[in-house]
C-alpha cells in the first residue's frame, strides 16, 4: 500500500486498537472454556472472526508482523472450523498461546515498537507442524482462476464421475482439445483425493475448472466434452469480458447479474466450492420471518377480544345459574395460552439496544482519554418492541453523558483514591409491571451547588433560590441545561436531559436521578410494559372499579382505628408493624362521591412502588383477581394522573388501571 494511503487511514488507528483490544478481551473470555478442553462452534467462530478482523485491520496499517502471525493463527482456526482438525489438548494449548502472542503483537504495534524478532516464532512453527501433520489428506481448496479476459470467456466446470477412467476416458485429452479453442486457464480441484491407503488407482478423484478465452461457438465447446458427458458433471457459463484492474480487486461478471447466476445462487452451492455454511447453527434470520407490526397488533387486539368474549360468556352462564359447561375450562386455558403467545411476539430482549453500548462507551472514552468499563446486566429482559425502539436514543444519550460528565479522567480518579478505570453499570430488570433500567456510574457525582449556580446564571431559577437536594438534582432535566464546563464534541450537542425525559415520558415511563458527590450517579428509568397482559386485582371504590397491578400489592388489611394517625399537614399515615406508611384514599383522589374514606370502614391495600416506596390505598373492597389486557388511553387522551391505562372487563365495561408510581406522587384532596 502506498504511503499516501497509510496516511489517509492513520486517523483510524485508534479505532483499530480500541476494537482490537475489545476483541482480544472477548477472545480471552471465550478461550477460558477452552482450558476445560472443549470449544464449541459459536466460540470458535467468534475467535476466528476476531483474529480475522485483526488481520484485516492490521493489513490496512501495514503491521506486517501482526498480519503474518494472524494469518497463521487464522489458518489453524479455519481448519478447526471446517472439521479438518479436531480440538485436542495440544491444539487447545497452542490456541491459548497464539492468542497471547497476538495480543502482544497488537500491543507492540500500538506502542510503535517492534516486537522481539522471535515473538511467536515457536508458536507459528508449532502451528505449521500441527497443520502439516493433521492434514495430509487435506488438499488445498480449489482455486478459481482469475478471469481477466479481454474477449469472450467461457467458464467450464468439469467434474468427472469416479468411474470415468474405467470407461477409457482420459481427461488430459479433453483438456488438450479444449486448449486448441483458445487461451485456456485451468484449475484442478484435488480435494477429493483420499489418504494414500484408500486410493483406488482406477478411480478419478480430480475435477477441473477451466476458463477459456475463445470466440468458438458453444457447439464447438460442447463437442469437446461429447465423449465424457455421460461420465461427468459438466456445466459452463459464458462471461462477458470485464477487464480486471491490477491486483487487489476484480469482477466476475458485469452488472447486471445474469438471471441464471441469481438462480444458481439460490440452489445448493456447487460441491467444489468450499462449504462456508456455519454448520448446525443456522443464522438466526433463517428461523424467523418478518411480519408487519400492524398485523401483530391486529392479532393482539383480536385475542384481547376473545378473552373478553370468553369472560362475558362465563359471566352470562353464571348469571343464569347454569353450571360451567364441560370444555369451558380447557377453552379458558387455551385462550390464556394463546394470549401469552401473541403477547410474546411483540416482546424482544433489551439486548438489541444494549448491544450498541459497549462500542459507544469505548469510542467516547477513547476520545476523552478516559478508562471506562461497562457492565451490562439483564440484557435478556424483555420489552415491547416499540418501547425498545424508543429507548435507544435516550439510553445512548445517557450512557454518553455518563462517560463524558460522570466518569472522571484517570488522573482525577487516582487523586481521589479511586481506580483509574471508571465503571458504568447498565442494568435492566422487570419489577412488577414495569421495566427498570438503571445507568449507574462510579464517577464524581453531580455537584448540586454548581447545578443551582448554573441554573441561576441561566435564569432557570431566580437568584437566591435555595433548593432541596432532590429539587436541585431535578434541574438537570430543565430545558437547555448543560453542566459540562466546556461544550465537548461528545455530549454538547444541544440535546439535554430534558429531551431524554420527554422521550421516556412518551413511552409512559419516568426517570429518576440519584447522586452522591464523589461516589457516582444513578439514573433510573421506570418503563411500563405497555401492551401486555396484566395480572390485576379488581377493587371497588364507591361505585367505580379499578384494576390494581397484582405485583405491586404487598398485602391488604382493615386497620384498627388506633393504627391511623392524621398528620397536621393534612395527610394520614397508617402504622404497619412499626412502619408508618402514607395513606391515599382513592375516592378522594379520584373524586368518587360514594367511596369509603375511613380506612377502618373499608380496606387498606398496601402497595410498593418500583423503587421500593410504600403506600396504603384506601378502597371499599377487593372484588377479585383477574388477568386483563392493557389498553392504552394514549390514543385518545394525554395522560390521566394516577391512571396508566384501561381494560375491558368481563361485563364489557371499561375499568381503569391504576399507576402506582404516579399515585405515590398524588395527594389527597382535603375532605
Amino acid at each position: 500500500m502506498s504511503t499516501q494511503a497509510r496516511n489517509d487511514y492513520a486517523q483510524f488507528r485508534q479505532t483499530f486498537f480500541a476494537e482490537s483490544a475489545e476483541m482480544l478481551a472477548d477472545m480471552d473470555d471465550r478461550l477460558e472454556v477452552l482450558k476445560s478442553g472443549r470449544l464449541d462452534r459459536e466460540e470458535l467462530d467468534a475467535v476466528f472472526r476476531a483474529v480475522h478482523s485483526i488481520k484485516a485491520g492490521a493489513g490496512m496499517f501495514d503491521y506486517r508482523r501482526l498480519v503474518e502471525f494472524a494469518h497463521g493463527f487464522e489458518a489453524l482456526l479455519d481448519r478447526l472450523r471446517d472439521g479438518r482438525m479436531a480440538v485436542n489438548p495440544a491444539v487447545a494449548g497452542l490456541i491459548i498461546r497464539a492468542a497471547d502472542i497476538l495480543a502482544e503483537l497488537v500491543a507492540a504495534a500500538q506502542a510503535e515498537r517492534s516486537a522481539p524478532d522471535d515473538a511467536g516464532a515457536d508458536v507459528m512453527t508449532a502451528i505449521n507442524t500441527l497443520m502439516a501433520v493433521e492434514s495430509v489428506s487435506a488438499a488445498t481448496a480449489p482455486i478459481l482462476p482469475p478471469v481477466n479476459c479481454e474477449s469472450r470467456c467461457v467458464e467450464i466446470r468439469f467434474v468427472p464421475h469416479a468411474d470415468l477412467l474405467r470407461k477409457a476416458n482420459e481427461p488430459l485429452l479433453v483438456i488438450r482439445e479444449l486448449s486448441t479453442l483458445g487461451r485456456l486457464t485451468t484449475a484442478c480441484d484435488a480435494s477429493r483425493v483420499p489418504m494414500l491407503e484408500r486410493i483406488d488407482t482406477q478411480d478419478c478423484y480430480l475435477s477441473w475448472t477451466f476458463v477459456l478465452e475463445t470466440e468458438a461457438a458453444e457447439e464447438a465447446i460442447r463437442e469437446v466434452f461429447e465423449f465424457v458427458e455421460d461420465d461427468a458433471e459438466i456445466s459452463h457459463e459464458v462471461r462477458t469480458p470485464v477487464a480486471s484492474e491490477d491486483e487487489g480487486f476484480g469482477l466476475w461478471l458485469e452488472t447486471p447479474v445474469l438471471e441464471d447466476v441469481a438462480d444458481a445462487a439460490r440452489e445448493q452451492t456447487p460441491a467444489s466450492v468450499v462449504n462456508v455454511d456455519y454448520g448446525a447453527k443456522r443464522p438466526a434470520v433463517q428461523t424467523s420471518i418478518r411480519v408487519e407490526l400492524s398485523r401483530v397488533d391486529k392479532l393482539v387486539d383480536m385475542v384481547g377480544e376473545l378473552v373478553i368474549s370468553q369472560a362475558m360468556l362465563r359471566q352470562e352462564l353464571a348469571s343464569h345459574n347454569l353450571p360451567v359447561v364441560d370444555g369451558l375450562e380447557s377453552l379458558d386455558a387455551l385462550t390464556r395460552e394463546l394470549q401469552d403467545c401473541v403477547m410474546a411476539i411483540r416482546m424482544q430482549p433489551v439486548r438489541s439496544v444494549f448491544a450498541r453500548m459497549p462500542r459507544l462507551v469505548r469510542d467516547v472514552a477513547a476520545r476523552l482519554d478516559k478508562q471506562v468499563r461497562l457492565i451490562m446486566v439483564g440484557e435478556q429482559t424483555e420489552l415491547d418492541k416499540t418501547v425498545i425502539e424508543e429507548l435507544s436514543d435516550p439510553l445512548t444519550h445517557m450512557i454518553r453523558n455518563s462517560v463524558d460528565h460522570g466518569i472522571e479522567s484517570p488522573a482525577v480518579r487516582c487523586a481521589a483514591g479511586k481506580s483509574a478505570e471508571g465503571t458504568i453499570t447498565l442494568n435492566a430488570s422487570q419489577v412488577g409491571s414495569n421495566i427498570l433500567i438503571q445507568i449507574e456510574d462510579d464517577g464524581a457525582g453531580i455537584d448540586r451547588a454548581r447545578l443551582v449556580a448554573k441554573a441561576i446564571e441561566k435564569g432557570i431559577v431566580p437568584p437566591g433560590t435555595v433548593l432541596g437536594d432532590d429539587e436541585a438534582l431535578d434541574l438537570i432535566f430543565a430545558p437547555g441545561f448543560s453542566t459540562a464546563q466546556t461544550v465537548s464534541d461528545v455530549s454538547g450537542r444541544g440535546v439535554g436531559m430534558d429531551v431524554v425525559r420527554r422521550n421516556i415520558q412518551k413511552i409512559g415511563g419516568r426517570i429518576q436521578v440519584n447522586s452522591v458527590a464523589g461516589h457516582g450517579t444513578r439514573f433510573t428509568l421506570i418503563i411500563p410494559l405497555t401492551l401486555a397482559v396484566l395480572d390485576g386485582m379488581l377493587i371497588s371504590v364507591g361505585s367505580e372499579r379499578y384494576i390494581l397491578p397484582l405485583t405491586s400489592i404487598v398485602e391488604s388489611f382493615r386497620p384498627a382505628s388506633g393504627q391511623i394517625r392524621e398528620l397536621s399537614g393534612g395527610g394520614r399515615i397508617v402504622s404497619v408493624r412499626g412502619d408508618y406508611v402514607p395513606l391515599l384514599g382513592l375516592g378522594r383522589v379520584f373524586g368518587v362521591a360514594d367511596a369509603v374514606h375511613d380506612p377502618v370502614l373499608g380496606l387498606v391495600v398496601l402497595v410498593e412502588t418500583a423503587t421500593g416506596g410504600r403506600l396504603g390505598l384506601v378502597v371499599d373492597g377487593l372484588i377479585g383477581q383477574q388477568q386483563v389486557v392493557i389498553k392504552s388511553l394514549q390514543a385518545n387522551f394525554t395522560a390521566v394522573p394516577g391512571i396508566s391505562g384501561g381494560t375491558i372487563l368481563g361485563d364489557g365495561r371499561v375499568a381503569l388501571i391504576l399507576d402506582i408510581e404516579q399515585l405515590a406522587s398524588l395527594k389527597e384532596t382535603a375532605a
Partner: protein
Amino acid sequence: MSKRVLAVDDSKTMRDMVSFTLRNAGFEVFEAEDGVKALAVVKTQPVDVILTDINMPNMDGVTLVRELRAQPQFRSTPILILTTEGGEDKKAAGRAAGATGWIVKPFAPDKLVAVVNKVCP
C-alpha cells in the same frame, strides 16, 4: 444525486475506513455490522452498491449475498465482497453466491473507489 453504498463489516475500523474513503469520493455510505443488519438496511434504504465482508457474526457475507440475490429487487445490484489475501476459497464461495466482484483487504483508497465506480450502475 450521489450514489449510495452500503458497507457491511463487523469491524468498525474497516467500516470507518470504507465509509471515509467512499464519502470522500462523493458516495453516500450506509453501514451495517452484519448480514442481518444489512438486510434490514436495504429494506429501508435504496442502495446502488453493496460492499460486504465475509466473516461476520449472525449472518456471514456469503449468506448475505445469497439472501440478496434471492430477492428480485437485488438481482442486479452490484455486490462486492471484501476478502483478505489468500482468501481464495471465500472468494469462490462469494462468487458462487452471486457476488459481482471482490476487493482484497488491505486495499488502497484509490483502488476501492475505482472498483466501486466501475460497478456503479
